[in-house]
Amino acid sequence: MTDALIYLDYAATTPLDPAVREAMLPWLGTVDGYGNPASDHAPGRAARAAVEAARAEVAALIGAAAEEIVWTSGATEANNLAIKGALEFRGGDGAHVISSRIEHKAVLDTCRYLETRGVAVTYLEPDRDGLIRAGQVLDALRPSTVLVSLMWVNNETGVINPITELAPRLRERGVLFHVDAVQAAGKLPIDLAATPVDLLSLSAHKVYGPKGIGALFVRKRPRARLAPQMHGGGHEQGMRSGTLATHQIVGMGRAFALARKTMAADAERVTALRERLWQAMSVLPAIARNGSVGHLAPHVLNVSFAGAEGESLRARLSDLAVSSGSACSSATREPSYVLRALGRDDETAASSLRFSLGRWTTPEQVDRAAQRVIDEVSWLRQLAPDGGAA
């Protein structure tokens, strides 16, 4: 990363916190720290103790008990285990699942896979502000509904879904509730002791932890039952076999412990920076914010810049690391399906940028990023026939 580059893509991934790295290093050593946590000897026991301490830290951030945390390779695996595991345990034939059009692909593609196995899936539509209402979910319930899967915070817009309102309503109807909390953990208070979610997916690398490690919260009381998706040595209470990656797990534990300490202050600071960025860019005419301003997680700002073609805007802003709604920025080469679900046309979706801020974002970076965006959007509009008006 060069000095000139401004990183505003914390929702994609976060740098490893130096304290997390420090905590991980002993577990990558050749003298000790290499024991298999499943082994019953001194190095194995030491590794197991470290894994269990990390489990307790992850649980503490979300108001869960340590034994309710199952380690996975990341949130994609956690989402797969939750959704496929729940349906397989209950028997998928004739079952109904409710999700939404703005979920992460790890949920959407898992649901689409289930459809090929005889499961009926309802994909709820968000409103223009990106919100899924609790009433929409309740109206979509059928006698055959076994699972609702919704994200706590949308990764593109930052909009917060009404999870705390919805969870008790689903509990009283006996419907399992899975929540992808990847963008919520460490950003918003999560208290699963008070919020009866059954299954909740977590990732370390969005919270200044390492890539390659995540977790699924699986409620014990009442017990959420899952069919394992990874068979083998019976690790993780039989729900996820495979030798535990001690260094990764220790990293996730330290990252979540740090998040618990800094979350409130981080949220206040990052929210202020996000609004500073928006205010600074607001001198540009014809720009629009995507996502309900009253229901936003601290770290995300999504803006459409009409008249500035998305691919060119991205190319001219090569000194900013931001996410583009442009087709050319994604592996699938389709304009953002989330923004299209909010009713934006392809062109508007493509001319949108997601700025996501984090622990090391400074006011100076925000001001410089805003000026760069103003300069390049103005340049592209000036270059366009009729100022970019369609």
Binding site: E309, S312, E347, P385
Partner: protein, 126 residues
């Protein structure tokens, strides 16, 4: 501002996209013609302002809405037209693709450039 070609556009495209010397417009005048071409699929648009003298282009500017290749195509066409008679010096999509090293997935941008030149020839030929 020195931008980096992070996304790996062909060098002839990047140089023109980064600093398109002929971007802009010419004041409306009797000897200035304005032609346009578009690519509906890619939502690209090129507009050319050409000042003519005896069928020759004596000054030219362009405007563009589209991807970096579209902008580079506008600039390249403008460069080529200065001092030329477009009826004689016919520019084609193949010329554009070769000069700017345009890949298959951006072939429509080269066609837009050819359409722009054809529109100009048609206007001059009247």
């Amino acid at each position: 501002m020195n931008r980096e070609n992070v996304f790996g556009y062909p060098e002839p495209v990047w140089a023109r996209f980064e600093a398109p010397a002929r971007a802009g417009e010419l004041m409306a005048a009797a000897d200035v013609v304005v032609v346009e071409a578009g690519s509906p699929a890619a939502r690209g648009r090129l507009r050319l302002y050409a000042q003519l003298a005896g069928g020759r282009v004596v000054d030219v500017r362009f405007q563009a809405y589209g991807c970096p290749v579209t902008i580079a195509v506008g600039q390249w066409v403008a460069e080529q037209l200065v001092g030329a008679d477009p009826r004689v010096h016919r520019l084609t999509a193949a010329d554009l693709r070769q000069a700017l090293e345009i890949t298959d997935d951006k072939a429509h941008c080269a066609l837009m450039g050819e359409d722009l030149v054809l529109a100009l020839v048609k206007r001059i030929s009247g």
